[in-house]
Structure formats: structure tokens, C-alpha cells
């Protein structure tokens, strides 16, 4: 159980307020606000779809109720398990028991009838727990954070990077910090700007605990929507070329698409058996390519309801980056084995070995200037847009194990984010490094 950090977060405020009035039994306990967060945090890790210890799930209300009897504590196996002294029976297994407040809240809720106050009892708890009010970012960072997400503003003058519980907005010409957008997940894994620049979509999360897609209104920085919440990180987010839809995926292996009018879900596809690492739309906005930790890359037809068009299994390791070829018939992908491959959508067969980068290729960027693949030794390999021939390497110097967390491009500039927290700019015409700065306030 997290005690210290918990108290600092705003999230506990809601719970605390509730408890302070709770004992007078004036307000009934809310499942969504009071109980679901406890289950989500303490239980769902071992009791969810796909991993249900003791064949018991706690990730939805209807599943949880299988071991609960409304109004009857004695018959509620769940209550027995969280309160028993018997070490072999007590839940959570092999860990500290739930706190007195948590047990008290659950007790009260059962006695009050174990009611459900959200819409659908089959919904995953992660979707009904209240939206996080994330803690404030530190005023100044004690250490730099790996740069794992970046996006240029549409006019190229600003660069957004993922910070610690915030998005940082930098002047891309001189590297000065312009703005700090608060109320974000702990770490940011992908950033996307809508084509009209109004919305900033953020894939974020706290590893092993929480994952989120949040939509910020770019100019004001307020949270407009949170179309996804899960129990592990969200890793990839992308607007379609017209800005009508937003696709995203992450640690749960699902591909989801929402419309950008109301941010409501249009499509959910069980895309992969492991994390979805990267997502790319084709130029018409009809198809999506995904790269996954399950070592495959796939193409789905969004227009046809998310039907899977092809699976490419030619990667023998985690696939990290993916992008459509200009011709629309092939896809280029890269992964942990360090190979950049091209393959056909029609039959899922490899059509070209494009490059070897000598170690994991963690990111791939498809832009008007070409394909850029982040290699393991601080090098970004540039491949020609038409024939994918290797054109040059842009190398980031410094640190003993240089590694790249993100690559983005605007016009004639390439920005490379490193694991040691720097953003390095390259001029694509000369191939020279032109500027770099540490993307952390206070450093």
C-alpha cells in the first residue's frame, strides 16, 4: 500500500472527504468513487481477465459480486478474506492487509446493500474510477527524465515534450521553457497534435499501475477528455490525417479508436497478445498499422469495423515502430532485433531488408523527409522515402550508453530525445547538430 505518496496526491482528497463524513452514515458509500479504486489498486493485479487467481475476478462489479452477498457480511467471502487472521487465507496474498479505513469502507458498502452506482455492471473498474487528479510536477527536477515523447507544434516553433506529471512546452529555436501543462500522468509515452492544432493527445501512465489517454486543449491546457484508463501504461496515440479520429493502444494489447467530436469509442479491437508499442494511420485514414511486444505487426481496416487485414511475423523480437509506405501497399517496421523490414499488406510477406542498426531500434518516424530509425548507439538512421535506401546517420554524442527515446521532425529539422534527458536538434539539410538542451525544468 502506498502511504506517503498517496497522501500527497490529490486523489486521496476525494476519499478522505468521503470518510470524514462517512461515519455518520449520512452518505452511502459510492462504489465508483470509494470501492472500485481499492479493488483496482489492491486486487485487480491478480484477479482480472486473463489472470484470475482462484478463478475469481474483481475487475468488474458483476464479477466481484460473485463472492459478496449484499447486506450480509458473514456470507461475503470477500469480507472474510480481507479481515481474517489466517495467513493462508488472507487477501491480498503475501502482502500487508488492507488498511483499517479501506476495510471499514468496504464493510459499510456491503452492509448498505453493495450497490452499484455506475452505468453498466460489466464495465471494467478502470473505466469507472474517478479521473485522476494528478499530483503537481516538481518545481525543479532533481534529475533529468528520459525523453520518451515529443511533438512539434504545427508551425514548428514550439516543441512539446513529456515531463513528470506534466507536458513541457519549449521554444524550438532557443530551447527556453515557455509553458508547463499540468495534470498529466506520471510518464508520457507518446504525444500527438490534432491537424488543426487544437488538441494535444497524450498517452501516459505510471508503470505497472495506471495508463491513460488524455486530451488537452492545447492553448489553455485544460483536460477536455480522458477516453481511456487502464491498469498499465498507454504507449501510442495518433490522429488520422483528417483529424476526425484518434487511435491509441498500450499495455493491454487493445487497439481503440474514438471520434474527435465527442471522444466516444468507435472501435475496440483485441489487436495483440502483448503490448501495442506503436500505431500508424495510412494516408487515407482507412487503415491502421500496429507494432507489438508480441513480436508481430498487423494492419487493420478501420472502415471495415477493425477487421484484421494482415499479420507480419517476420520480426523475431518486439516490434517497436511501424509506418505505411507511400504506395499504400506495404508497411515498414523495426524492432528490438535491430532490423528495419518492409512487407506487403496483401500477403504479410517480407519484401525488403532495409537496414540493420546493430541493436534495438526503439522508434521509427515516417515523415515527408524520409524514414528515421532510432538505433541503440545514439544514431538515427535516415532512409530514403521512395526506395528506403540508407542515406545517412545522425549521431547524438555523449553518455556511455547513448540511446534515443523519441524522434520527431518538422520541416528541415529533426529533434531527437535521449535517455539522459536531452533534446538534440539536427538540421536535415546539412546533417549537422545545431542545438541541444536538457528538457527538464531546473536543470
Amino acid at each position: 500500500m502506498r502511504r506517503g505518496g498517496f497522501l500527497k496526491s490529490g486523489r486521496w482528497l476525494a476519499g478522505a472527504l468521503m470518510l470524514s463524513t462517512g461515519s455518520a452514515a449520512a452518505e452511502p458509500v459510492s462504489f465508483a468513487r470509494g470501492i472500485a479504486p481499492i479493488f483496482q489498486r489492491q486486487c485487480v493485479g491478480c484477479h482480472k481477465a486473463g489472470k484470475a487467481k482462484g478463478k475469481y475476478r474483481l475487475d468488474t462489479y458483476s464479477h466481484a459480486m460473485k463472492e459478496l452477498v449484499a447486506g450480509n457480511l458473514e456470507e461475503s467471502e470477500l469480507y472474510y478474506r480481507i479481515t481474517t487472521d489466517d495467513e493462508d487465507d488472507r487477501m491480498p496474498v503475501d502482502a500487508n492487509p488492507l488498511s483499517k479505513q479501506e476495510i471499514e469502507l468496504i464493510r459499510k458498502w456491503i452492509e448498505e446493500g453493495a450497490k452499484y452506482d455506475a452505468e453498466d455492471p460489466e464495465t471494467l473498474l478502470s473505466s469507472i474510477v474517478p479521473m485522476e487528479e494528478h499530483p503537481a510536477a516538481p518545481e525543479s527536477y532533481p534529475r533529468s527524465l528520459p525523453v520518451t515523447a515529443m511533438v512539434f507544434s504545427n508551425d514548428g516553433q514550439k516543441l512539446f515534450t513529456g515531463g513528470y506529471h506534466e507536458i513541457l512546452v519549449w521554444n524550438s529555436a532557443d530551447g527556453t521553457l515557455l509553458r508547463r501543462i499540468a495534470n498529466n500522468g506520471q510518464r508520457t509515452y507518446d504525444l500527438a497534435l490534432s491537424p488543426d492544432g487544437r488538441f494535444l493527445a497524450v498517452a501516459s501512465g505510471a508503470p505497472g499501475q495506471l495508463g491513460e489517454i488524455r486530451i488537452f486543449e492545447t492553448s489553455g491546457g485544460s483536460v477536455v477528455a480522458a477516453p481511456f484508463r487502464g491498469d498499465d501504461v498507454a504507449l501510442a496515440v495518433a490522429f488520422d490525417p483528417k483529424g476526425e479520429r484518434l487511435a491509441f493502444g498500450g499495455a493491454d494489447g487493445m487497439l481503440r479508436v474514438v471520434n474527435t467530436k465527442e471522444w466516444k469509442e468507435e472501435l475496440v479491437v483485441r489487436a495483440h497478445s502483448d503490448w501495442v508499442n506503436a500505431i500508424a494511420w495510412d494516408s487515407a485514414g482507412h487503415r491502421i498499422a500496429t507494432a507489438s511486444r508480441d513480436k508481430s505487426a498487423k494492419v487493420f481496416d478501420v472502415a471495415a469495423g477493425g477487421k484484421r487485414l494482415t499479420t507480419f511475423s517476420g520480426h523475431s523480437e518486439t516490434v517497436r515502430g511501424v509506418g505505411f509506405h507511400r504506395n499504400g501497399n506495404e508497411v515498414i517496421s523495426c524492432g528490438d532485433h535491430g532490423l528495419v523490414l518492409r512487407w506487403k499488406i496483401s500477403n504479410g510477406k517480407k519484401s525488403g531488408d532495409l537496414a540493420k542498426v546493430g541493436g534495438p531500434a526503439l522508434r521509427m518516424l515516417c515523415s515527408e523527409s524520409g524514414y528515421f530509425v532510432a538505433g541503440p548507439k545514439g544514431q538515427t538512421v535516415q532512409l530514403n522515402l521512395d526506395d528506403q535506401k540508407r542515406e545517412r546517420e545522425l549521431v547524438v554524442a555523449g553518455e556511455r550508453l547513448p540511446a534515443i527515446g523519441e524522434v520527431v521532425e518538422h520541416g528541415s529539422r529533426l529533434a531527437v530525445g535521449t535517455f539522459d534527458g536531452r533534446v538534440v536538434f539536427f538540421d536535415l539539410e546539412t546533417g549537422r547538430r545545431v542545438r541541444e538542451f536538457v528538457a527538464a525544468p531546473g536543470l
Binding site: 500500500m1 502506498r2 506517503g4 505518496g5 489492491q42 486486487c43 493485479g45 491478480c46 491480498p92 496474498v93 503475501d94 502482502a95 500487508n96 516538481p138 527536477y141 532533481p142 534529475r143 533529468s144 527524465l145 528520459p146 520518451t148 513528470y164 506520471q186 510518464r187 509515452y189 505510471a206 508503470p207 505497472g208 499501475q209 501504461v233 526503439l362 556511455r400 550508453l401 540511446a403 527515446g405 535517455f419
Partner: protein, 809 residues
């Protein structure tokens, strides 16, 4: 000022090391560096035959308490830079503390990784397994720091460490179960391990400078064997690590402790060994890739024990008795003549003695008759065949491995080796350096069964060095000092062995080529031939490297070679090796009587590796000839040879015994009808008949090995339901018992009376006549019977199902 403090502290000294008792304090001086530089003191009181660990009852007087303090458990906690002394009785520990003003960065290699090992994170059953757990994979016990660094700091975009809020790192949240962790609670928030990991993350999760001094080895204290007597059965250990810059650091809190035998002593995370029961135990300590161990013997005064001072027949008995006396187990007296002759026959020839032989032996008045019988049996053909069969098991002599023709040739070769008492070093050399056609030179089949370099090396290591080195193929050996480098270095002796097939069936030409190297799979370095204790060796160009290996192996001072075979021979007749299993010699699996093993080995070498001599020595000892009947004072002993331990007849012995008693010996395919099971050259002479699936093979049920591996564990020694069923109503038993041409029915036809039949059955199966009560029971059964024939068959069945028959004892 200091003097006054010192005086005050001395006055305050209350309990502790008794006045007048001689104490020893370790270490005598120390340099401590930084706030994490804690160190363990060990205080020992000399108790005569035993030592008494008084670390936790001693009083520690600190001259300058500003510099450091000492906990009641004897752990020094540095507080400020300076020099001072710790006073314990009349002994002094000089301590110098430095580097307290600036926080020392946590060393990834020397602190972070050891903590993860200590917590068990990188063990083979958790994240150190080949695929890790939950997507998180560490190298087994941190043998690959570079890989671990990348995994911890980089993998999945730095998922595991949080540089801004270190307490929120996944690597801390999970083992403290703040997030669900299938591995359970392995870390306590606020513990030294937690604080160290947190400090490492907060300091930037640095991987260390290239110039960092590296650990070159560790020492455990106390390292020399100690005897502890209950109730003073605790022993605190301390571990020091030496570094390449000449410094020494106490790493007791970073090392991993293990006990080789938890029912003798347990050892805590803090290095405190606590006695549980009598016996020998090895305390193993690991730090980084280094393993060291220390031996403890725990003794206790046993009520009613008085050493009976039995006579020793030879040096062997003296050494066994010394151990028994120390541990206070009673030595069992000699067995009866009847027991002895049956046991000896089974051990030396695999066969039961017939009734006449037993009678003769009993009637013989010669006081040396046992020794004479031993000599006679050692020279017998059955002995050569039966003991050749044991080597057949080890050398994988089977149709599947080497072909039918070679099976017979190699088997004859082995029989000859035993019959002529070929010296063991010649024997080993013949096998290891065998060359030529496998049809002409039977020993060359060794390299057929061991079909490639690594198989040949692993086989040779297991058979001749008693070491299961296989684990070190992919990582450093988890239980032993073998490293991966050692594995590939040893393999370099065997990689030039070439095997060529010819047109002839089952023929393989084995020869040594003049070129070829072994390369390390990860570093791609060429590995020079390496042998334990000798190190890397230079082999002259053109010389057969196997000869160099064989020469090294059979040198008189090679500690492994003689011990392994001496132990194996001991195990064959005693039922249990001094090191058990007998092909698993390692520091963490010590001999139960080290002086005994050493003496046997020395005798073996001095005799010129004469196996018959060694066998003779063992068989003539009172230890071998002891009865298997136990008393309360030795029935708990399973390891120290206080009495003979009964064991079930092996599959071959059982089949031959059944055959000789019933007069219907089992017939084997492909060999003369008269060949016994204990002479069989291989278990698979008949090719597997798919049509007869379901026909239970009697010998397999009783543990006959398939000879597809060299492990001694291939011979099953567990009892099983299948065995019980075979004995109760199996086809083989039934056939043997009821056959009209069997001995029983022949006796019936010859008009032999009931009593006489019963007597003959007992003599044949148990080497003794029935006692009055047994005879009465049998008479009653036979009198009641409707069919005499059937009742007699039942009687035979009864005798064959007696434990006394099924076991040698």
C-alpha cells in the same frame, strides 16, 4: 577525556566474555568507508574441543563513540570520520572511518546487484530464469552486470526506475507489495536493502565508472572447520571482499548465505548459523560470482550414550568410529555369518549364495573365513560380470547408443578389465584416449556415446571428476565454482576428437585431429584447454589434447580422480557414498566424513589404483560387516555408517534371485540362454517391438537404467506401485512360481515333504531355515489347503514377497 570514557565503559561492561576465557576477535583492524560501510565482528571463546561463538553476548566498549557504535549483534555502524578502538575483553579492534562527509555513490556492480541477488530476485526460480518473470529478466545471480544494467535502467523506456521520485520506482513498489507482486513480499520499506536500492536510483541509477575497482575474491570467517556443541550451537559469520585496488570491505550484509543441510543448521540473511541437529553442514556464502564455504560440525551430548570402543579392523573403521564417537552415534556390532554371506554374495556377484555354500561357510571354524570368502568371490567370474555391468551403466553401453556389435565388444572389454583387475588409472586412460575403429577398439565407443565435444567433456567431468558441470554451459554454475569460462576451457580438451562413420554397420573411427578450437559463445574468444586447479594449459602442437587431460587427471596429487572412484566403490557396497550422489562432488555437497574419503583416496593411489585392493579393504572392515539392526542410539543415522543400511535388490539381482530360487531363470533376447541378468551387456538387446506395447518389462519396473544418460540417478531406487503389483500378481512371478518344470514342482514330483520344501525355500531365498513360529504357520496353511500343489505355490509366493528376501540387509 577519552581515557575517562574508556574507563567508564569498562566499568559498564556487564555480561560478556567470561573472565579468564581465551577469546579471539575478528577482524583485528578495519577501514570503513561511508555510511553504508557497516561491518560484522565475530567473537569466539575457546571451549577446548569445541568453539563457542559469543558474538552476541560479548560487550563492546567503544573508545570514541562519536566515530562509531556497535550493535548487540556485533555490527559496527560508522558515524563520523576518525579513528578509534573497540574493546572486547582484552582484545582490540582498530577501526578507521572515512568518507562520511560526502555520500558515497552506490556501486551498481558491488552493491545494487548483490542486493538483488540477496533478495532472491535474480534466482533461477524468479527473474533469473531464462525468460524471467512478468517480462522482467535478470541474469542468473547477476553473472552479467552489463545486461542487468540495461534491463534495470533502460528497458521499456525506463519503466523500472523513477529518477524523480525514487520511492515510486516499480523496482521498489513491487517487492514491497505496494503493487501486486506474484513473487510476494521480498523487501521491507526502510530496510537496509530498500534504502540502498533507493539511494542508487536517487543518485541517478549510475552504472559505475570504468575505473571502478573490481572485486577479486571473497573470504568467509571463520573459514576453518568448527565444532559446535549444543546448546552453544550458533555461529556468526562475516564475509570480506577483496578489491583490485588493494582494499578490503565487509560485505556480510550484501552476501547470500545458504546451508547445505537445513536439518543440521540453518543460516539467516545476516550470516548467523543456528544449529538444529547433529551432523556436518557446510555454510555457503555467495557474493557476485564468488562462492566460499565453511564447515561446521554440530555435536550434542546424547542421553545414555557411552562409546563402546569396538575393535577396528582397519584404518577405515578408525575413521568411521571417530566420526560416530564425535556425533555420539553407537557403532553397530558385526552381523551374523548368515547375514554376511548373503550380503557379500549380492554385493560382489549380484547372486544369492546357494544353500551348500552357506552351510559350508557356517561350518567353517577358520577365524579368517570372512576374509577368505571375500578373496574367493573377488576372483570369481560372476564378480567380473556384475561389476563390469556397473561401468556399463555409466558408459551408456546400449544398442541405442553404440550399436549391437560394439555392445558385446565393449562389455567383454569391461569384464576383462575387472577380471584382470586393471588399474583404474590405466582404465581411465584407455577410455579417454581411445582411438581407432569402435569395432576393433571397444573403448573408442566412449566417444560414440558421447557424440560431440560438449557431451564428451560433460561425460568425462561427471564420471572422472564427479562433477555435474552442465549448468555452466550457459551461465556460471549456481552451486559450484565453475564459471562459464571453465566450461568452455575444459571442453577444449575434447574438441579435436573426430568421429567418422564407415561403410560397415555400427563402425565409428575415432581419432584426434590436429586443429580446431573452442570459442566462447558470448565473447568469441578462443578458449585454451583449462583444468581445475591446474588452470589453462599449453598443449604442444600436434599432441592429442586428451592425453594431456588424462595425464593431468591421473596424477597422484589430483584431488578429484582417486576420490571419485573410491567414493563410487564405497557407494556400491555400502549403499550410499561418502559423497552422495556419487557423481555430484561440490563444495556445497560435502563428504559426510572427509578424513575417511581422503584416507580411502590415499590408499587407492598408493596401491597403484588397485580397485580390488580397495574393495577388499572396505569389505573387511567392521563398518561394512556391521549389522543392519539399529538401536535408539543409531537408528537416526543415515549418513555416518553406524550400521548397515538395508536396500532393495536391484532389478538384475532380483531377477536372478527369482530365477535361481524357482529354477526358471529369465531368458533374454540375443544372448545365450544361460546368461544371467547380472551379466547382461545391455538393457536393450532386443529392438523395441511396437506391437507389444503394454508388455510391462519387469526389470524396468525395478529400476533398470536405459543407459541413455550417465547420471547415476538413471537407476531408479524408489519403490513404486508397479513393483508391488509385479510382486503380488505379475506375469513373470506367476510363471516362475507355477511352472511345471520349476524346482518346486520337481520337488513335489520327487516326493519331498512339506517341511523339507519350506526349509529349502527359506535356505534359498533367505539363507536361513525357518524359525519355529514360521514353520508352524506354514504347516497350518498347508494342512488347511484343498490343493497341496497350489498351497505350496502360495508358500513360495509368500517367501518371495517377504521384505527379508527383497532386500539385502
Amino acid at each position: 577525556m577519552r581515557r575517562r570514557i574508556r574507563a567508564a565503559l569498562l566499568i559498564l561492561c556487564g555480561s560478556g566474555a567470561g573472565l579468564g576465557a581465551e577469546i579471539e576477535v575478528f577482524p583485528s583492524e578495519l577501514n570503513l568507508s561511508g555510511a553504508r560501510g557497516r561491518a560484522q565482528i565475530v567473537v569466539t571463546e575457546d571451549g577446548g574441543n569445541q568453539s563457542v561463538d559469543v558474538t552476541r553476548s560479548a560487550s563492546y566498549g567503544v573508545e570514541d563513540p562519536e566515530v562509531l557504535s556497535v550493535t548487540p549483534e556485533g555490527i559496527i555502524q560508522p558515524k563520523a570520520n576518525g579513528e578509534t578502538q573497540i574493546l572486547i575483553g582484552d582484545k582490540v579492534v582498530k577501526v578507521k572511518v572515512s568518507a562520511m562527509d560526502v555520500p558515497l555513490p552506490v556501486s551498481f556492480r558491488h552493491e545494487t546487484l548483490p542486493v538483488l541477488s540477496r533478495m532472491g530476485c535474480s534466482s533461477g526460480s524468479c527473474h533469473g530464469s531464462p525468460h524471467g518473470k512478468g517480462g522482467f529478466r535478470l541474469s542468473l545471480r547477476a553473472f552479467d552486470p552489463v545486461l542487468d544494467a540495461l534491463t534495470l535502467v533502460r528497458e521499456e523506456f525506463g519503466r523500472r526506475t523513477n529518477p524523480i521520485e525514487p520511492d515510486k520506482s516499480l523496482i521498489l513498489l513491487k517487492p514491497t507489495t505496494q503493487l501486486s507482486h506474484e513473487g510476494g513480499k521480498q523487501l521491507e520499506k526502510g530496510s537496509p536493502e530498500y534504502d540502498l536500492l533507493r539511494a542508487w536510483i536517487a543518485g541517478g541509477a549510475a552504472l559505475g565508472e570504468e575505473s571502478e575497482a573490481l572485486c577479486t575474491g571473497i573470504e568467509i570467517y571463520p573459514s576453518s572447520a568448527r565444532v559446535l556443541k549444543f546448546p552453544a550451537s550458533d555461529q556468526q559469520f562475516a564475509v570480506h571482499a577483496k578489491f583490485s585496488d588493494g582494499t578490503t570491505r565487509d560485505v556480510t550484509e550484501l552476501a547470500v548465505f545458504e546451508s547445505s543441510s537445513e536439518n543440521v543448521a540453518t543460516v539467516s540473511r545476516t550470516g548467523l548459523a543456528r544449529g538444529v541437529g547433529r551432523g556436518d553442514v557446510v555454510i555457503i556464502v555467495r557474493y557476485l560470482a564468488f562462492i566460499e564455504s565453511a564447515n561446521l560440525t554440530l555435536v550434542r551430548d546424547i542421553d545414555g550414550f557411552a562409546w563402546s570402543n569396538p575393535p577396528a579392523a582397519n584404518y577405515l573403521d578408525e575413521l568411521v568410529y571417530a566420526k560416530l564417537r564425535q556425533l555420539q552415534y553407537e557403532a553397530a556390532p558385526r552381523s551374523s555369518d548368515r547375514t554376511f554371506i548373503r550380503r557379500l554374495y549380492l554385493d560382489l556377484t549380484g547372486l544369492l549364495p546357494d544353500a551348500e555354500a552357506v552351510q559350508q561357510f557356517l561350518a567353517d571354524g577358520d577365524p579368517h573365513k570372512r576374509a577368505k570368502l571375500i578373496d574367493v568371490l573377488l576372483e570369481s567370474e560372476s564378480h567380473a560380470a556384475f561389476w563390469a555391468q556397473k561401468w556399463g551403466d555409466l558408459l551408456r553401453v546400449s544398442r541405442k547408443q553404440i550399436g549391437l556389435g560394439p555392445v558385446f565388444k565393449l562389455s567383454r572389454w569391461l569384464v576383462n578389465a575387472v577380471a584382470t583387475n586393471q588399474s583404474y588409472d590405466d582404465f581411465a586412460r584407455d577410455i579417454l584416449t581411445a582411438r581407432g575403429s569402435s569395432l576393433v577398439h571397444p573403448a573408442a565407443n566412449y566417444y560414440r556415446a558421447a557424440g560431440d565435444t560438449f557431451d564428451a567433456m560433460e561425460t568425462s567431468a561427471q564420471l572422472f571428476l564427479g562433477s555435474r558441470i552442465q549448468c555452466a554451459k550457459c551461465h556460471n554454475h549456481p552451486f559450484e565454482r565453475w564459471t562459464q569460462n571453465n566450461y568452455y576451457g575444459l571442453a577444449a580438451f575434447f574438441n579435436r576428437v573426430e568421429r567418422k562413420k564407415t561403410g560397415r554397420a555400427d563402425e565409428l573411427i575415432v581419432f584426434a585431429s590436429k586443429s580446431g578450437e573452442v570459442t566462447h559463445p558470448a565473447t568469441h574468444k578462443t578458449m585454451k584447454p583449462w583444468a581445475p586447479k591446474a588452470g589453462t594449459m599449453n598443449v604442444a602442437e600436434g599432441k592429442d589434447r586428451r592425453e594431456v587431460f588424462a595425464k593431468w587427471l591421473t596424477k597422484d596429487d589430483n584431488p578429484f580422480f582417486a576420490q571419485v572412484e573410491a567414493n563410487r566403490i564405497w557407494a556400491h557396497v555400502m549403499g550410499r557414498g561418502i559423497v552422495e550422489p556419487f557423481d555430484d562432488f561440490r563444495d556445497t555437497n560435502p563428504p559426510t566424513n572427509a578424513p575417511l574419503l581422503a584416507a580411502l583416496a590415499k590408499d587407492f593411489v598408493t596401491s597403484g589404483y588397485d580397485r580390488r585392493h580397495l574393495l577388499r579393504t572396505i569389505l573387511n572392515s567392521n563398518t561394512y560387516q556391521a549389522t543392519s539392526k539399529t538401536t535408539p542410539l543409531n537408528k537416526d543415522d543415515q549418513r555416518y555408517f553406524s550400521h548397515y543400511q538395508p536396500r532393495m535388490l536391484s532389478a538384475e539381482q532380483l531377477v536372478d534371485a527369482l530365477g535361481s530360487i524357482t529354477g526358471r531363470p529369465m531368458q533374454f533376447a540375443g544372448v545365450p540362454a544361460s546368461m544371467k541378468a547380472t551379466e547382461l551387456p545391455a538393457p536393450d538387446l532386443k529392438p523395441h517391438d511396437r506391437g507389444k506395447i503394454g508388455e510391462i518389462e519387469f526389470m524396468k519396473v525395478f529400476g533398470q537404467p536405459e543407459r541413455q544418460t550417465i547420471c547415476e540417478c538413471e537407476r531408479g531406487d524408489d519403490s513404486s506401485l508397479g513393483q508391488a503389483l509385479e510382486l503380488f500378481n505379475g506375469k513373470l512371478m506367476h510363471g516362475m512360481i507355477t511352472h511345471k518344470e520349476g524346482r518346486l514342482h520337481k520337488w513335489i514330483k520327487d516326493g519331498v515333504g512339506d517341511d523339507e520344501i519350506v526349509k529349502r525355500l527359506y535356505e534359498a531365498a533367505l539363507s536361513r531355515p525357518p524359525i519355529e513360529r514360521e514353520l508352524t504357520l506354514h504347516r497350518e496353511y498347508l494342512a488347511d489347503a484343498e490343493s497341496r500343489n497350489q498351497a505350496l505355490e502360495d508358500t513360495l509366493w509368500m517367501v518371495l514377497n517377504k521384505s527379508e528376501f527383497l532386500f539385502q540387509h
